[in-house]
């Protein structure tokens, strides 16, 4: 029964993915295409966050550091080397390499801490990256950032769309497989009850570190695509606001579902695009974050599973269980 349902959902995802390939032929407006590309990029970023928050149950406030690492690696490499596809691949390799190293070190140093200390420490580390990007002017151009050239083939917004879509699909199906693997099951066990998982003989820290490396690498690739889509980079890619954005996308869409973050990214980016467009009508739309924050608060209180999670639990008749702080229960 379970296998059948899984297959059905896989089919649905494949059909939706195929439909997405047709979209750029229908939606030809540049700004709309750009918005959709941004959605794909943030969907990848949000999925990587979901691996941490939704599947392993850890809150990071510094996830943006990997995004920024990806963006800056691309920008610096494309700026220093020739604008060829080859150097783009070099950029990806370097982005992944740095992300692996940083996420490994950060993970080993910090994942032993309790949830809120971990959150604060990652926040501090991301802050250090931001300061470094501002101060290391010879490399990053400081706060103003810099533009860079792209190879001919990536300059076309159509090709860029396809590249982002293919990456999104690859990561979606890849991470879906990852979370359904025995490894992913252990991560979920850690989320549900860390002490019990440990007493069953799993080395919780190892699993958490690997989860954070996977999330870091995926976020770094999202950063690569982000720099690519803007052909520009500045210190904004290390800003805490981005972490908060991606956190909200994941929560609103549904933690621990992978589809949820994609949906959340879509909703948030569209709302942003559409509501700031309305600011000519009434100034209140400039302050769309109020609406966004209120919706988010209501979601945390009433639908802790997010949109997708709530629908899923309705369909499968499972009891609703939000994000629990299992560490505290263990401590007592």
């Amino acid at each position: 029964m379970n296998i059948r349902r899984m297959e059905k959902s896989t089919w649905i995802f494949i059909i939706i993915s195929l439909l997405l390939f047709i979209v750029p032929f229908i939606v030809t407006g540049r700004s709309m295409q750009f918005t959709i590309i941004q959605i794909f990029i943030f969907a990848i970023f949000a999925m990587s966050y979901d691996i941490l928050l939704g599947f392993t149950g850890i809150i990071s406030f510094g996830h943006v550091m990997f995004f920024g690492i990806g963006a800056y690696s691309t920008a610096v490499i494309m700026d220093r080397m020739d604008a060829t596809v080859m150097s783009f691949f070099v950029a990806i390799l370097i982005a992944v390499f740095i992300a692996v190293i940083v996420s490994f070190i950060v993970g080993v140093l910090t994942l032993r801490l309790k949830s809120h200390f971990y959150a604060m420490l990652t926040l501090a580390l991301a802050g250090l990256f931001l300061v470094a990007a501002e101060k290391w002017r010879s490399l990053t151009g400081g706060n103003d950032g810099f533009t860079f050239r792209l190879p001919e083939i990536l300059r076309d917004s159509h090709n860029l769309y396809m590249l982002c879509l293919v990456s999104l699909l690859l990561f979606f199906f890849g991470l879906r497989r990852f979370t359904k693997s025995p490894f992913g099951r252990v991560l979920m066990a850690i989320r549900e009850n860390e002490a019990r998982t440990e007493s069953l003989g799993y080395k919780v820290l190892h699993y958490k570190v690997i989860a954070s490396v996977v999330a870091g690498v995926v976020a770094s690739i999202a950063g690569v695509l982000y720099a690519l889509s803007l052909r520009f980079v500045n210190t904004g890619v290390f800003a805490t606001d981005l972490t908060i954005d991606v956190l909200l996308m994941t929560i609103i869409g549904g933690v621990g579902t992978l589809v949820g973050p994609i949906l959340g990214a879509g909703l948030v980016e569209f709302a942003h695009h559409w509501l700031s467009g309305l600011s000519d009508v009434h100034w209140i739309f400039d302050r769309w974050i109020i609406l966004y924050g209120t919706v988010y608060i209501l979601v945390v209180i009433f639908f802790p599973l997010g949109i997708v999670g709530t629908i899923q639990s309705k369909l499968t008749n499972r009891p609703v269980k939000g994000l629990q702080d299992n560490r505290k229960a263990v401590g007592k």
């Binding site: 149950g57 809150i59 140093l109 910090t110 032993r112 801490l113 309790k114 949830s115 809120h116 200390f117 959150a119 604060m120 420490l121 926040l123 501090a124 580390l125 802050g127 250090l128 300061v131 501002e134 101060k135 805490t240 908060i244 956190l247 909200l248 929560i251 209140i284 400039d286 302050r287 974050i289 109020i290 966004y292 924050g293 209120t294 988010y296 608060i297 945390v300 209180i301 802790p304 939000g322 994000l323 629990q324 702080d325 560490r327 505290k328």
Partner: protein, 285 residues
Amino acid sequence: MDLIISLTVNGLATGMLIFLLAAGLTLIFGLMSVLNFAHGGLFIWGAYTGVWSFQMTGSFIVGIIVAIITGLLLGLVTERLIIRPVYGNHIQQILITLGFMLVLQEFIKVVFGPDQKAVFPPEILQGSFLVGDIVLIKYRLFIIAVGLLIFIVSSFILKRTRVGLIVRAGVMNKEMVQSLGINIKLVFMLVFMVGAGLAALSGIMHAVYSGVIYAEMGLEFSILAFIVVVIGGMGSFSGSLFAAILVGLAQAFMAYYVPALSLAVNMLLMTVVLIFRPQGLFGKE
């Protein structure tokens, strides 16, 4: 020598300001185990309403009183609407208060406009004393005095009075205190309000100190407050005083000697403390 003394006074003043902010958070976290990321939101609301009424009436005291009242009222609303549904669940507390922080920050822009505002200190606190060759700015001395006063009064209340006894007992065993006929929910609500009031007081004091206020200060100071509380040890009152002064002094000296690092100094301090002593300098295991 003169330089070191004036840097120290600067650092102490900044530290005391940070202490006022962190003291509220320490109360809220240490006593109620609530992770309140909306603390900076209460801080800017104190700053804006305080400055507004200060400029309207021309009296700094009215400004301070209005700020504190705003803080208390907002604290009441926050506790009722935001914190109550998520008592005892840290992850949800982090998530929900962060959202509320954003809402508070945006509402500032709706009510007071999105631009920066300049603030000038009241006449009586403008200018400075000259002791030997050392310039002591009056407002900084005023901040240090207020900070010390708050520290002494709140330590006294917590340690020596019946109210403090109830609060500390409530932290140790909520059910027991409840069964002795004390409305612990009400007590916790009042503690939260006092914490929020302290944040608002810190807001107006800081607004006059820095001379400019803007809405984005909210998130910055939420984070700063947490950094200080983490360094000092969650829930330790003297710990947060110590950590606040440490951060203040580090900022003052770094800004003078190593300006490139001054932005990162808080983060560096917290990183070192968390890695080597995760419970904080004064925290209990």
